[in-house]
């Protein structure tokens, strides 16, 4: 089995890995970088549980090969905040009970951060449309939308 050595820059840390070309970015992150916060819900690019940021933009890591991410900056949920110092968006998720089983949560966090990084002033309607890219089976979405719009407000206020 042929492998290629690549450097993956994830959460500002470089991982030098020897990988078969066909391994997906999701699998490389989970199995080789041991960053298991990025989850696999379908591997068809529909559910969004695998969403990470690639140069700040949300992407489905199940639909990318790891080697496609070489030379780019990958951000996963582990790079956002830590249990003893939560990112304000993570804090908003906790306060709004925006998760139950937690499986879709990292994907939603990265999607939300990516959307707001690109356009902080996005309207609530457009934000909902953008968030509809990801699936959740537990919460009914309202708490998730509330957490994201709450965080959006506080970021706009801080500007």
């Amino acid at each position: 089995m042929t492998t290629r050595q690549i450097d993956l820059l994830v959460n500002e840390q470089t991982f030098t890995l020897d990988l078969p070309p066909r391994i997906t970015l999701a699998d490389a992150l989970r199995d080789h970088c041991r960053l298991t916060g990025t989850h696999l819900g379908c591997e068809h690019g529909v559910c969004g549980a695998c969403t990470v940021l690639l140069d700040g933009e949300p992407v489905r890591s199940c639909l990318l090969f790891a080697i496609q991410a070489a030379g780019h900056e990958v951000t996963t949920v582990e790079g956002v905040g830590r249990p003893d110092s939560l990112h304000p968006l993570q804090r908003a998720f906790v306060n709004n009970q925006a998760f139950q089983c937690g499986f879709c949560t990292p994907g939603f966090l990265m999607l939300a951060l990516g959307i707001l990084n690109e356009e902080l002033d996005i309207s609530t309607n457009d934000l909902r449309n953008a968030l509809s890219a990801n699936l959740c089976r537990c919460t009914g979405y309202t708490a998730i939308v509330d957490a994201v719009t709450g965080y959006q407000s506080s970021r706009k206020d801080a500007q």
Binding site: L40, V46, V80, Q100, F103, C138
Partner: protein
């Protein structure tokens, strides 16, 4: 001071540990080879090519399992008539559904295992697929030695049905169908098994960990004590994760045989064809009423599409559907007859509120049609026939197949009033009528339901206080995403008067946990919660007795987390243990009960229908639910909202479809549609604490499934109202745009 993240902080920072996240040293990866054909004679399996592929360690087929291939037995039934239809862990000489396990490939990594799985050659002589027409003589039988694909019949009955129908002023009859769908959690199934030579350790089992462990032991020839199920985070269960499937035998078998850890993680395509389906039923139901609106009788002849095999739960879904048809009403006569039909489709099982979405849909729709015929207000018709507080406890013997229906407590009329008021029902009716006058198709619907909670059994818990003053609660209840451990912490905190942040709850691990039937049927707050409460009481008693010698003559009491006596200094747990020179004190608690606790609820829905496209927008969806008592109101609301969203999916979008050869058409989320945030309104959950449960010390009823039952009926009713249908009605789920268009055009 070390920082110990709470459950919430772990999950929101990617710190969850789901079974797919675990890596065991030296682990191998398993991929299940599944039948690509819905029905056929399995003539042979050629594994030579796959065995020769890189990284492949083993290819398992039924031939390796001995002369008698193990079957997966039933957990919830002892019906011997169903034994011939149980599923073998691997297909032997017949395949009966697309997705049926035929072989397992084990390799060094997942990708290599998948490569090799594609190279396993199956020689299948195809047979026509039987897909469920019971009136037409099936051209092929699933099982030799049978004369039809009717697996069995079940019935429930009460009163004199014949004379009730003959004497009725009005009879309304209609056919209703509910589409095949399922729980479909965001995390697919997975298992890791590791054999140490003495002990089998397994990650991934959930739901009913003790019964599953016993079953695994039986099938593998191991003592239960040799098997340990370790807790993992779970990405939703909804009834379908945690039943015993063929893989629950195959993966541990492989781990033991290969003396290496074996990891199997199902992918989504597999999940949609291999994990239990549910809900597909076909009813012809009738209601007999008097001219002044009294219910005289309810009659229903229906079929359940069981799929190709009888699974772990037996015929539980039809068994639960029949009594669920009764609902919160008084029926002088009742009859329901169910035919369970075998088909060449994925086998079925229970899912969130099993049989109850279906039964509530049929009954509430029929009541709406009766209201139309009688020209009565649909709420008034219901109110007239509701069971009331004076009828409680309510008991109805429905015969041998389904037994006695029991409602422990309830004040349905009062809760109905409050639910409608909180939902703003009167305003909804008014504003939708105004909208219709302006030409918009806006409508409102209501549905009432009873919800069986707290599947009976016996449950234990252990409560320990440690030398540092912290408390450890051990329960075999499982965290499936509902946060049970936080509810248990709240109960313990309240009982012991020790702050929540000093309480650690360990759930779902067989290592120390006492007995439990499992986490399903909305039972864990009732059973695990009551067991924890009792355990705390026992611990306090024990502590008080042990503390007494250290006090003077005064009677020792427990209060504010301390032992006290009049006129003396109080003593904390830490000090008591110090004096006794013990590292911890512990007590067990048990709760046992033989009957469920029945909750009651009301769904309302407001829909806007696009007459041109048939698109339905659910603008409002509310659930008013009497939970008896809420330990954590917010958590109950979350469950109700989640349950209602789940049901929304089955009402409008989700369906497993098959082509005429039995090929599944819904094998990805592009075909099997889950609601996104665009389709889901801000669901309003109103929790009422009216009729507490008399039988458990907490007075609680369950809520995990309470958001589900009335959603389909309420939305269907709202669509009828929006379109102002007179002779037509929504009678089929899912309510697709096609079906709406047909109703409009007819």
């Amino acid at each position: 001071m070390t920082y110990s993240p709470t459950h919430d902080e772990r999950l929101v920072t990617g710190g969850g540990c789901y079974v797919g996240d675990i890596q065991r040293p030296g682990q191998l990866h398993a991929v299940v080879v599944r039948s690509p054909i819905a029905h056929g004679h399995l003539r042979g399996i050629d594994t030579t090519r796959s065995l020769a592929m890189p990284g492949v360690r083993y290819v398992l087929t039924a031939a390796d399992l001995g002369l008698r291939t193990p079957v997966v037995p039933m957990r919830l039934s002892a019906r011997t008539d169903l034994f011939p239809f149980l599923q073998p862990v691997l297909a032997t000489n017949r395949v009966r559904y697309v997705g049926e396990p035929v072989a397992v490939v084990v390799a060094d990594d997942q990708y290599l295992a998948e490569d090799a799985a594609e190279s396993v050659l199956l020689d299948i002589e195809e047979l026509p697929a039987a897909l469920g027409d019971i009136d037409v003589k099936p051209h092929t039988l699933l099982y030799d030695g049978t004369d039809s694909n009717v697996l069995c019949r079940l019935s429930g009955h009460h009163g004199d049905i014949k004379s009730a129908f003959t004497s009725a002023d009005f009879v309304v009859t209609e056919r209703f169908t509910t589409g095949r769908h399922s729980g479909v959690p965001m995390e697919t199934r997975g298992l890791i098994a590791e054999w140490t030579g003495q002990q089998l350790q397994v990650w991934g089992p959930t739901k009913a960990i003790y019964p599953n462990r016993a079953l695994m032991g039986r099938l593998l020839g191991l003592d239960e004590e040799q098997i340990r199920f370790s807790a993992v985070d779970v990405g939703g269960a909804f009834g379908v994760r945690g039943e015993f499937y063929p893989e629950d035998f195959l993966i541990p078998w492989l781990a033991r045989t290969l003396a290496a850890p074996v990891k199997w993680i199902e992918d989504r395509r597999e999940h949609l064809m291999a994990t239990n389906h549910s809900r597909q039923q076909d009813h012809v139901a009738s209601i007999a009423v008097s001219r002044d609106g009294r219910f005289l009788a309810f009659r229903d002849t229906f079929s359940c599409d069981m799929g190709a095999y009888v699974r772990n739960v037996g015929v539980r879904v039809p068994e639960l559907t029949i009594p669920s048809l009764i609902g919160p009403y008084q029926w002088p006569a009742f009859e329901a007859i169910c035919s369970c039909i075998l088909t060449n489709k994925t086998p079925t099982g229970t899912m969130r509120s099993p049989g109850r979405l279906e039964a509530t849909f049929v009954r509430e729709r029929l009541i709406d049609l009766a209201a139309r015929k009688l020209e009565m207000d649909p709420i008034e018709l219901r109110r007239l026939n509701l069971l009331n507080e004076g009828d409680m406890p309510f008991s109805l013997d429905l015969g041998d197949d389904v037994g006695r229906l029991v409602y422990d407590s309830g004040n349905y009329g009062a809760v109905l009033d409050r639910a409608l008021e909180t939902a703003g029902y009167a305003n909804m009716r008014k504003s939708s009528a105004e909208a219709r006058e302006h030409g918009d198709a806006v409508g409102v619907g209501v549905a009432l339901f009873t919800e069986k909670t707290g599947v009976p059994g016996r449950e234990g818990a252990v409560v320990k206080v440690r030398a540092d003053g912290t408390v450890r609660v051990i329960s075999a209840a499982v965290n499936i995403g509902q946060g049970i451990e936080m509810t248990l912490a709240a109960i313990a905190s309240d009982a012991l008067q020790i702050p929540c942040d000093r309480i650690q709850v360990i759930c779902g691990d067989t290592e120390d946990a006492p007995e439990s039937l499992g986490t399903f049927g909305s039972r864990s707050t009732i059973f695990a919660g009551s067991a924890v409460l009792n355990g705390c009481g026992n611990l306090i008693c024990q502590g008080t007795e042990l503390a007494s010698p250290f006090f003077g003559s005064g009677a020792v009491r427990y209060g504010d987390g301390m032992f006290t006596a009049d006129g003396e200094d109080s003593m904390r747990w830490q000090e008591l243990m110090n004096r006794l020179r013990v590292p911890e004190l512990s007590a067990e608690g048990v709760f046992q009960h033989s009957e469920p606790a029945t909750a009651f609820g009301v769904h309302t829905a407001e829909t806007v229908v696009d007459r041109d496209t048939g698109h339905i927008e659910v603008r409002r969806l509310t659930v008013g639910y009497d939970v008896g008592r809420a330990i954590d109101r917010r958590r109950v609301e979350c469950q109700l909202v989640g349950g209602a969203t789940h049901a929304l999916g089955g009402t409008l979008f989700e369906e497993f479809q098959y082509d005429p050869t039995g090929q599944p058409q819904s094998t990805s989320f592009m075909d099997y549609l889950l609601p996104t945030c665009n389709e889901t309104p801000r669901i309003e959950a109103h929790v009422f604490e009216v009729a507490t449960a008399p039988a458990n010390p907490l007075g609680v009823k369950g809520a995990g499934e309470g958001g589900v039952p009335g959603v389909a009926a309420a939305i269907a009713s709202a669509v009828d109202d929006a379109l102002q249908l007179c002779d037509q009605a929504v009678t089929a789920l899912p309510i697709t745009p096609d079906r709406v268009r047909s109703l409009i055009l007819d």
